[in-house]
Symmetry: C2
Subunit: 398 residues, 2 copies
């Protein structure tokens, strides 16, 4: 745990001040502090924001560092994209540890100190992806805290042997049990949900399930999930990622789901996608539901988009939810920063005394300006330790 | 009209070649061309794309160059945002010529050689905005071709005196007659549409109408617009901007509208908004409908977003329409480049012999890579003349 005095920073759109981190936590925020023997950084009047939170990504599947991938599959067929990816991983000889190092460091360089990564578990790759990402998590512990989710990307009930691998993954130390479209991919919601809840219960861990199913189908799978969470007393232990069904037009139906989500303290992760129905953050906030966001996979066989920058994701959250005023931009930022940490079940990152010493100095004359321009970060600090400077992490990617 | 030989460029994802522009038009595309007395640019293997087209923006209202605008209005109330903007223009002492110079040059620096700008005409500002933008269009004629639309931003039927100003604006030389939400803003669709069609007919010009109205309301206003276009024989002369109603769920209804739009050769301009229903580009393309895109207003009293970069807009078109494969990324690019020019009623920009010598050298190892990273442009050429280099126009903004 480190001490650091950051001189002449502006907290959000406030007046210049100094911020002292002691033993990894914010100890004092006041102007004109004396450094004594504490290491000093001069913020030069830059704006400080809480460190960012990447709450939904896939560290094992980015193609960073490979020759550019020419995509001829397109976005029309989900199973074709899943099969293509599994085959390409082998054909390209991807090393999950190397890829996750590249991806995690890129994300950390943009100012995230927390990452939740789903990690593919399937009968082709076995546990290799999880081993690689866990090795990355260990190596980068001082730079970024990585949670892993054991994720049946290629299906569970349709792929015999996967349940046993998920069980091993949880025994190896995956932080959460994953899941995926119980109807849409597995075609067996009861089998899928019974299996992942049984494994979560066995290993005493929470669940983070991908739910792309739209409209009534998604609502059905969501209800089945909530029924099990309720029966097993898993309040506060469930995350539903994507949750496209919460963007359906039937608002009476959506409100009913939101009430149950709030009662069970379920967290929602949204990438704020432009091309899908999606949870509306203001509506969720009105119910007190924890919300995080993430970039999802970046530059992989699924598509060319994404760079790991959670400040650009703040912009996407704003654009998707029609957020425009300064106050609304702070709300979008919170989803990708402190609020995202809370959604991950961790302590809120905030620029206040007592909070973890995780912060980012950004370029821009105002917070909204920094968000919409998302220029390379000036400085990234985790628990009082400088981890990145001028857009690059101090540790180099392999 | 200028001559220029560009050596060692890659056209889209093709092999390196040379491209000769003579008298402002592409004369030859072949490797190892001799320059003779023709000026030469070395592209260094960079990818060339056709010049970009900004087909929907508002050059008169960006706050570029002003202190950062702190927005406390938000996105909830359309009329409040309209009134706030009109008042702020006076309070801040905005000069439409200076603002449009800043905005147009920023857009041109990102590689657009064509801009269609709506220009506010109202009883507060009168014709000042149009005068300012027309002055910019004249000054920047060698850098970017600017079309102007006389736009009743503050309403027409609800604001007596506006129709007379629009008449004057058209007499001054505005290229198109504008319009705005005949039901939603003016509350008098017959009055609004009769007025703008009469003015368009009087001055022999086309129409580009903002239509944010959603669902059945927008479909009604669209039908009323199409009825008049048909009756007045204005095939190919109408543009509908935004057209959110084409994103409504009732696909039978949408298909019926698309058939009429195609029959009357109406162009659609979409910003590919993340927070609104929107026309789906593949569906429009299937009907052969001309499509352009634009950044809309940037960094103004409406919101903090936008920078004038039409290559970033390609990314938004792709994200909004779930475009992922290389082929789909080319389609997204075309909407913001050659296809956008056609939607503006102009000659297609294309990298082929005979086409206008308008092109951009981009950074990236592949076209999709250039789109998703949208780094500053290496070189921008209009009619064989270099207009911008390394992200900056050769003419400086005031």
């Amino acid at each position: 745990m480190t001490n650091l005095l950051i001189k002449n920073l502006r907290i959000l759109d406030g007046e210049p001040t100094d911020l002292l981190i002691e033993n990894g936590r914010i100890a004092k925020i006041a102007p004109d502090q004396e450094a004594g023997t504490t290491p000093v950084e001069d913020a030069g009047g830059h704006i400080a924001i809480p460190a960012l939170t990447e709450a939904h990504t896939h560290l094992d599947k980015s193609l960073l560092g490979f020759p550019w991938y020419h995509n001829d599959v397109g976005g029309g067929n989900l199973m074709a994209m899943i099969d293509n990816e599994r085959q390409m991983k082998t054909r390209l000889g991807m090393d999950p540890h190397v890829q996750s190092m590249r991806h995690a460091l890129k994300t950390a360089g943009y100012g995230a100190t927390l990452i939740r990564s789903h990690v593919d578990i399937d009968t082709t790759g076995g546990l290799r992806a999880l081993e690689g990402v866990m090795e990355t998590a260990e190596k980068l512990a001082d730079v970024v805290e990585i949670q892993t989710v054991a994720f049946p990307q290629s299906g569970l009930m349709i792929s015999p042997g996967t349940a046993e691998l998920l069980d091993e993954a949880m025994a190896m130390g995956a932080d959460l049990m994953g899941g995926l479209d119980p109807c849409g991919v597995d075609h067996d919601p009861k089998g899928h949900l019974d299996t992942i809840f049984a494994l979560a219960e066995k290993h005493g861990k929470g669940i983070d399930i991908h739910l792309h199913e739209r409209g009534e189908l998604g609502a059905f799978s969501m209800e089945q999930t909530l029924d099990r969470a309720e029966a097993l007393g898993m309040k506060g232990m469930i995350t539903i990622s994507h949750a496209f069904c919460l963007g359906m037009p039937d608002q009476g139906r959506v409100e009913g789901l939101l009430e149950r989500l709030a009662a069970l303290d379920v967290a929602i992760m949204t990438t704020a996608p432009a091309s899908s129905p999606a949870p509306l953050v203001k509506q969720l906030q009105a119910h007190g539901i924890r919300i995080g966001s993430g970039n999802d996979g970046i530059q992989d066989t699924w598509g060319p988009y994404g760079n790991g920058d959670m400040l650009e994701r703040v912009k996407f959250v704003g654009l998707r939810n029609n957020l425009r005023s300064d106050k609304e931009m702070y709300q979008a930022l919170d989803i990708c920063a402190g609020g995202g940490a809370v959604a991950m079940g961790l302590e809120r990152r905030a620029l206040e005394v007592g909070a973890p010493g995780d912060l980012v100095l950004v370029e821009g004359v105002a917070v909204a300006h920094a968000i919409v321009t998302h220029a390379p970060r000036k400085l990234v600090v985790k628990a009082g330790k400088v981890t990145a400077r001028d857009g690059a992490t101090l540790i180099e990617a392999p």
